[in-house]
């Protein structure tokens, strides 16, 4: 494991293989909570936090499952880990950091069904990442999500004053906007860190 590899993973997760714009993971919260930029940032930070933690925990869980020969139970085990993790974070924040808890509010429980979280865990296993790589991939993937949702929310705030056909109201125009941002993100696809 080298620093270059970690750098390549981070760069990939944030820009070239952005979770939203090129892997289509986490679209639901991306469309759902991007109407205002401050809530978007809150959601992005919460997701980053959970993705990092989930990567770390599931790495251990996966090792246990493989050792027991139960790797076909991965999906069930991972979703349980993610769900209980979110529940614990919620309880912990409520007790020790009430300000952060109220700021995140309703978004916390929503993270359980965010496919970016389960997705990053599954991708870690698929790509055979070791512990540090998994955690780095989890956190930087979350940062990529944060970048995407923040950019999108700022555009969306301006959309309110835009004039577009009535049939496009709501989700369609949001999707088209996201498509255009995705087009811009394609420009990053040439980026590479050598040697891979």
């Amino acid at each position: 494991m080298s620093v270059t590899k970690l750098l390549a993973i981070s760069l990939g997760a944030i820009l070239t293989n952005n979770f939203i714009f090129s892997q289509f993971l986490g679209i639901c919260p991306f469309l759902g909570v991007s109407k205002k930029s401050d809530t978007a940032i809150g959601m992005g930070l919460a997701v980053t936090f959970v993705m990092g933690l989930a990567s770390a925990f599931c790495f251990g869980v996966n090792k246990i499952l493989v050792a027991l020969g139960l790797d076909y139970m991965q999906t069930v085990a991972f979703i349980l880990v993610v769900a209980s993790l979110v529940q614990f974070i919620e309880m912990f924040l409520k007790k020790s950091m009430p300000t952060l808890y109220t700021a995140l509010g309703v978004y916390l429980p929503l993270i359980t069904t965010n496919c970016a979280v389960l997705g990053v865990v599954l991708l870690n296993v698929q790509n055979d990442y070791n512990f540090i790589e998994s955690v780095v991939y989890g956190i930087t993937g979350g940062l990529g999500f944060l970048l995407a949702i923040y950019l999108f929310s700022t555009v969306r705030e301006r959309l309110e004053f835009a004039d577009y056909p009535k049939a496009f109201e709501g989700f369609p125009i949001a999707l088209i906007t996201a498509g255009l941002i995705a087009l811009a993100f394609m420009g990053f696809s040439g980026l590479q860190v050598w040697p891979m």
């Binding site: 069930v76 069904t113 496919c115 997705g119 599954l122 989700f171 498509g179």
Partner: protein, 209 residues
Amino acid sequence: MNFNKQLKDGLIYQNPVLVQVLGMCSTMAITTSVSNGLGMGLSVLVILTLSNIFISLLRKIIPNEVRIACYIVVIAGFVTIVDLCLQAFVPAIAESLGVFIPLIVVNCIILGRAEAFASKNSVAASAVDGICQGIGYTAVLLILSAFRELLGAGTLLGIQIMPSSYVPANMLTLPVGGFLCLGTLIAIMQWALAKSEKKNAAKKETEGK
């Protein structure tokens, strides 16, 4: 219970993707080819129907406070079964759908129907609801994937359809194409629904007179 009405709801008026806007991730990610769309659509149909039946059976036993966790465990169980079946019988499709098969667990369509329908209705009605919503989802996937594969690669189910002089619009099979096509499809749907509503309202008005 009205099968016709439920089918119409699933296909049009309450279409899971176009009207309820659920399960967007998989919809955009895997509709790059018709075979992927069909595989994904049928997998979701099976899982949705089974989990609806099961959750409806358990609806009086599951305590209200932990219901979401219980639903997720039931769904995850069925997803694992389908995942293993796909890997065993159609490895090519399992390969190309990749991580999106296990991700059906967090597909909001399934959890949404469990919460909104199966937890309140009888087993038979829930099964029918699962089938109808699944058909609606599959239909959207087929439309989107046929469009994207035909224009983006010039093929349908891997068979060359467009004349060889046609230059494929690669963009459509890239992520950008997914966003743009789905956005346009939802817009068309909203336009059509608004139009039929207007028509109905006008009809009622003339009848009223």
